[in-house]
């Protein structure tokens, strides 16, 4: 097979930086390969994408050493114009790369710029639409598309140009499990059936890795380049996400670890559970279900809540939900299920169209956001939407001042220390890493100690080690007796968290609510809600181990096997 992309000993320094973003990177991707590039945040993955596209050094400047060949073209020397019809790119936020207002116009855009004639453009646009099965989107307005639909449009636009290489930078970051699976299967199909070379830079590897021909682990240097099965150890070493089934096998000391739940993996585990005692059903260490422990009056009471968007679309239909003090509640659902709309009612950002929301007994309709925010601290998804001060310390002080705390420098410093940010107190929020920004966003809300904290999709776009960091932080907050509400579709993360209740939402309704071991084992409800159950749950079901105390993650399953299965 011919080489599609070849990097030879590439080292790159951003302008005025003395530390290389990439160091001695040599990498070859052959035509028709499906390659996944993983590694920690700040490890140079996005820089690598820019190098391959020729944006580095031609737009970003800096010093680039080594050779970069894309489809045989020396892109470092000749620039991005030389490869414009060879590479299609999907950036992390595809909304920012779409130029036109209507889908069909967008698909034709590059071809028009490159002076293809109208007949040829029409033919290619039709073919791309057919390949991606998006005929229904042809006349749609771009701003009405979901993230998944937008990604399909961007990919179709590259296909229309007949790009033989597709480069995707964290395409799964904002997709729900259903959308992620759909996108991965499209990429796999394009690779296998059309011979398109697919390179995906991604943190979320659980679903993706099984489709890869090769995995490259990058942390400024190439730490690993080889088959996915062999990559697991290296991925664990750098704190990257691996499929829970792989983690389970590693924890059980069984090698090579599988990448997905298949018959071989199930058979291997069946041999282990043969030795299990059927009477061993005592609960696992962390059974957090605490429905009987909470106080009689809820901190947040939602009664028959209905909400309509200004365009008349119904976003919430008859929601009834009580959240009690000290609970750790996960609100789970696919994109568009109404999760964010619901939590925006908790601090009065949105007011009910019908029904009632009460916070500590106070009706949200008769209270301002500032009044409600004293009781409910909401951290929205994008930390960049809240930073505006010169330093991290001032960010925390801003919130404290708003809630009447003057001269609270000591308090702010204390909060920064609790979040491991004390050394960065005088740094600009924009200079912080993604994980530090996320921590600062939460710290600046927790600083004034609201009894309830609500987090909207806190794991979106962050790597596995940052997720674990976040998990520790939330656990500490919950242990202090605060009520924590987390909105997410990241069920694998939720399976690790000390959650007391899971609420599943779909199409603006609550479709299930109960303890994690009850709800996350309702696999049909999850699938109907466009969610996927945690892998360990799927495995336990396949092994007919449901009488066991329903483990949610690999650690719990290993604990069960150790306790109940002699000499596994």
């Amino acid at each position: 097979m011919k080489s599609a992309i070849a990097l030879k000993n590439v080292t790159y320094f951003y302008p005025s930086s003395t530390t290389p973003a990439l160091e001695g990177v040599s990498l070859e991707v052959r035509e028709g390969e499906f390659v996944v590039i993983a590694g920690p945040s700040g490890g140079g993955k996005s820089t690598l994408v820019r190098v391959v596209l020729g944006l580095i050094p031609h737009i970003y400047g800096g010093r680039l050493h080594g050779e970069v060949l894309v489809g045989g073209v020396d892109v470092a020397a000749e620039g991005f114009r030389a490869i414009v019809n060879r590479v299609g790119v999907v950036i992390q936020n595809p909304e920012n790369q779409v130029v036109n207002v209507v889908v069909e116009e967008e698909l034709a855009f590059t071809l028009e710029n490159l002076l293809y004639d109208a007949k040829e453009i029409g033919k290619r646009v039709d073919e791309a639409i057919k390949a991606l099965e998006i005929e229904h989107l042809r006349k749609r307005l771009i701003h009405t598309l979901s993230s998944g639909e937008l990604q399909k449009v961007v990919i179709a636009s590259a296909l229309a140009l007949d790009s033989r290489i597709l480069l995707l930078d964290e395409p799964l970051a904002h997709l729900d499990p259903h959308g992620a699976r759909e996108l991965i299967s499209i990429l796999h199909k394009l690779c296998r059936e059309r011979g398109v070379t697919v390179v995906v830079v991604e943190h979320r590897l659980s679903e993706l890795i099984r489709y890869a021909d090769r995995v490259v682990v990058l942390n400024r240097r190439v730490l690993f380049d080889g088959s996915p099965a062999l990559a697991i150890d290296k991925l664990l070493e750098v704190g990257a996400e691996v499929p829970p089934i792989s983690r389970l096998f590693i924890e059980l000391g069984k090698r090579p670890p599988p990448l997905q739940i298949d018959s071989k993996a199930v058979e291997a585990l069946e041999r282990v559970i043969v030795k299990c005692r059927s009477t061993c059903t005592n609960s696992l260490g962390n059974d957090n279900s605490s429905s009987s422990l909470h106080s009689p009056s809820p901190v947040i009471a939602v009664e028959d809540l209905w909400f309509k968007y200004p365009n008349g679309g119904v976003a919430l239909s008859g929601i009834n939900l009580n959240i009690f003090q000290g609970e750790f509640v996960a609100i789970v659902g696919a994109n568009g299920a109404g999760k964010t709309t619901l939590i925006k009612h908790f601090n009065g950002l949105l007011k009910p169209w019908r029904g009632r929301v009460a916070v500590l007994g106070k009706d949200t309709r008769s209270s301002t956001v500032a009044e409600l925010a004293k009781s409910v601290g909401v951290v929205l998804q994008n930390p960049l939407h809240q930073f505006f001060e010169r330093t991290a310390l001032r960010e925390v002080l801003f919130t404290l001042n708003n809630f009447g705390c003057r001269n609270c420098v000591d308090r702010a410093l204390e909060v920064l220390k609790a979040f491991g940010l004390e050394d960065l107190a005088e740094s600009s929020p924009y200079e912080l890493s993604v994980g530090e920004q996320r921590r600062l966003a939460i710290a600046s809300v927790l600083a004034y100690e609201p009894p309830v904290i609500v987090l909207d999709e806190p794991t979106a776009g962050i790597d596995y080690s940052l997720k674990l960091e976040l998990l520790k932080m939330l656990t500490r907050v919950a242990e202090k007796g605060k009520t924590v509400v987390i909105v997410s579709h990241d069920v694998e993360f939720l399976a690790l968290a000390p959650i007391t209740r899971v609420v599943i939402m779909a199409s603006g309704r609550v479709v299930a609510s109960g303890s994690p071991r009850e709800v996350l084992y309702s696999t049909e409800v999850l699938r109907d809600s466009h969610l996927t159950p945690p892998q360990v749950v799927e495995l336990v079901k396949l092994l007919n181990l449901e009488k066991a105390p329903r483990p949610l993650n690999s650690r719990e399953l290993v604990e069960y096997l150790r306790r109940c299965c002699n000499g596994y």
Binding site: V84, V101, T110, H385
Partner: protein
């Protein structure tokens, strides 16, 4: 605040393209531009009789697209409080300080409203049926350079995204206790930083992504570009344009002056 929001919402609605197809969607954008010019010409007549005729012609020309009529009504009802307030203000000041007769001043304000109604229906009909891309194509055909015209496409494309982002930023800051409504003017301006700075940073990031995307998609490589759809000035366009021009001419030539 609620009235301002309603006004902005309805004003934005008037300028929004809609997927639902009507007669105007099938017209050549050049025909629609000529219709717009004809409507502006009709709106600039001076007499009330001619304005009444112009109003009739403008709405008759828009009638093949019932959606445009409904939307115009929606926009005009949104604008009504502002038009009424302005008219009241003008009438009071003119009578008090200008020395004009009340009936004359009121008549002038009625004419202003009629002119707005004529322009509103034409703008709404054209905007709801024409994408910015089609405008670009029409102007390129007239000899303008596409590179500059695409600014319009990008502006229209990103206005909803930027407005959504502003709303998200406002929500994020209100969740941290920001109250823009409280305090003196200076204090309020200072607090606006909490909205402006994140909006500016996010827009810069968006602009960077967009600029890179344009470079990677061949935008501006050549001074010319092709268009995937052929722009044809067909019989129906000719017929419609003729009707629009004849309407304008009729207003100026055939309709008697009546009340000036």
């Amino acid at each position: 605040m609620a009235i301002e929001k309603a006004f902005l919402k309805r004003f934005a609605s008037a300028l929004a393209y809609e997927e639902t197809r009507c007669f105007y969607h099938s017209l050549d954008p050049r025909a629609k531009l000529l219709y717009l010019v004809a409507s502006l010409a009709m709106a600039s007549v001076g007499s009330i009789t001619r304005l009444l005729a112009a109003l009739g012609f403008a709405y008759a020309l828009a009638s093949p697209c019932p959606r445009a009529l409904r939307k115009t009504l929606y926009v005009l009802t949104g604008l009504a409080p502002f038009i009424a307030l302005t008219a009241l203000f003008v009438v009071l000041f003119s009578v008090a300080f200008g020395g004009g007769s009340l009936s004359e001043v009121v008549l002038e304000q009625v004419k202003v409203f009629m002119r707005i109604a004529i322009v509103a229906v034409a703008v709404t009909a054209v905007a709801l049926s024409t994408t910015p891309y089609e405008f670009v194509y029409a102007f390129v055909k007239m000899g303008f350079r596409y590179v500059y015209l695409y600014t319009l496409v990008i502006a229209v494309r990103f206005i909803p995204a930027v407005l959504n982002e502003l709303s998200d930023i406002y929500d994020a800051q209100r969740s941290r206790g920001l109250e823009l409504e409280k305090g003196g003017v200076l204090e309020r301006f200072r607090r606006l930083n909490a909205i402006i700075v994140p909006a500016f940073v996010c827009s810069l990031l968006r602009a960077r992504d967009l600029a890179e995307a344009l470079e990677l998609r061949g935008f501006g490589y050549s001074s010319k570009r092709t268009f995937y759809r052929a722009l044809e000035f067909r019989r129906r366009d000719l017929l419609f344009t003729t009707l629009a021009i004849l309407s304008a001419l009729a207003v100026y030539v055939l309709i008697p002056l009546g009340v000036a």
